[in-house]
């Protein structure tokens, strides 16, 4: 058990460059504030990828089906991305450069390490999104010494060891829950632990 993956919190793993992840941050941080739940938000920068790509090459009929399904899935993902951007209030042109995404990932890691909870963090984070630049300020450490902070790779590796392989995903009381829709179940798990 990593010391920063404490049991007494709901952990949310996100990819800062992904609108669905940002939607999860906005919704979960408001939810945690309302319910008085300790929330930690961590960057997960290594995704599982597309498992469908592992299907062995089949006959021409199967390959046509795979191609059509992949196209339909990609179109739907674009639709969901638009819905997520609408929820978060991001323009259709929104996109973080790799440098900005990394800076935001570091900001999330450091803020989670420094603060007792990320509940209600959205307004602060969205200001950084508005800049969309590499100049996201590192938070001033309260008591913690960030010199000993895990690297982004170490954070992703630790989350992966706990079963979080995609984003957004939650970890609470040893339970892995993938997707933003699980907040009612997470609340039930949290209350059962209390």
């Amino acid at each position: 058990m990593r010391a920063w993956l404490i049991d007494e919190a709901v952990h949310l793993a996100v990819d800062p460059s992904d609108a669905e992840s940002l939607m999860a941050v906005k919704a979960a941080s408001a939810w945690a504030k309302e319910k008085d739940i300790t929330l930690k938000i961590w960057p997960l920068l290594r995704e599982l990828g597309n498992p469908a790509a592992d299907v062995p090459i089949g006959d021409s009929q199967m390959e046509r089906l795979k191609a059509r399904r992949a196209k339909a899935r990609a179109q739907y993902r674009a639709l969901e991305d638009r819905r997520a951007r609408d929820y978060v209030g991001l323009p259709s042109t929104f996109g973080l450069s790799p440098q900005s995404a990394k800076a935001l990932a570091i900001w999330l890691r450091d803020t989670s390490l420094c603060r007792a909870s990320m509940a209600g963090i959205w307004p602060e984070l969205s200001e950084h999104l508005d800049t969309g630049s590499e100049s996201i300020a590192r938070p001033q450490p309260a008591e913690d010494n960030l010199d000993g902070a895990p690297s982004l790779d170490q954070v992703s590796e630790a989350l992966g060891e706990r079963g979080l392989y995609t984003t957004p995903a939650f970890l609470v009381g040893g339970h892995v829950l993938i997707g933003i829709g699980h907040l009612p179940l997470i609340e039930a798990i949290w209350l059962a632990k209390a």
């Binding site: 469908a52 592992d54 795979k66 059509r68 399904r69 339909a72 392989y165």
Partner: protein
């Protein structure tokens, strides 16, 4: 008009079934149920588990799934099982990758021949529950006919339908749905929008209410524990 795409072999469609049916009574509507038969091998590989414990051996699994495909499949069943248990449902993982085209034809038949919405619901409930109890072979014409009969739906002419017009209609429908951008279940079609996954139920209800205010966020319904 609300159209819902479903497949009796999908654990996610199973745990959504009752929740979706509840929309009928809540909003006084008739859902247009359509079958979407998932070709699981085309996106998640294939696997078959052979239980040889009677001979004292460990169960053997054969197939072509990669490690990350297994990770996704194992999570999907773990996730669906906790929501099934929340609804008092039994969900046993299938031991092979099924082709559910025949059961889907059964749904088309049941839609046409049911004498009431309750009868159609009874067929669908039974199909899901028995499949996930490993007591219903979704690829078997006799099993589908028996299930129709057990829910009081006429089976006169079903064999001919299933082997001819019904199967042809079903396969044409699969092509049309994929062209429309539908690839998974449950999928909801309403007001020219497509929603894939039961986490959109609240948003579907929002459409049925006339889209008042901001749309609700995704949410998997969780029934509160009842005191015993």
């Amino acid at each position: 008009m609300l159209t819902v795409l479903t497949d009796f072999k999908s654990p996610y469609a199973f745990v959504a079934n009752d929740l979706i049916w509840a929309l009928e009574s809540r909003y006084g509507i008739e859902i247009n149920w359509l079958p979407l038969s998932l070709n699981i091998a085309s996106f998640a590989g294939s696997a078959t588990k052979t239980d040889t414990r009677a001979q004292g051996d460990k169960p053997q699994t054969q197939g072509n799934r990669s490690a990350r495909q297994w990770a996704v499949i194992r999570y999907a069943y773990m996730d669906a099982r906790r929501y099934a248990e929340n609804q008092g449902l039994t969900l046993k993982g299938p031991k092979t990758v099924w082709n559910s085209d025949m059961a889907c034809v059964g749904l088309l038949w049941a839609k046409e021949k049911s004498e009431s919405r309750a009868q159609l619901k009874s067929f669908m409930d039974s199909a899901f529950q028995r499949f996930f109890e490993r007591a219903f072979e979704v690829d078997n014409l006799d099993a589908v006919r028996a299930l129709l009969a057990s829910t009081g739906i006429t089976t006169s002419g079903f064999t001919e339908y299933a082997q001819g017009e019904g199967m042809a209609t079903h396969l044409e429908l699969q092509d049309a749905l994929l062209d429309q951008g539908c690839f998974g279940v449950p999928t909801f079609l309403i007001d020219d929008e497509i929603y894939f996954g039961r986490e959109h139920l609240a948003r579907v209800a929002w459409h049925l209410e006339g889209c008042p205010g901001a749309p609700p966020i995704k949410c998997y319904p969780w029934l509160p524990e009842t005191a015993e």
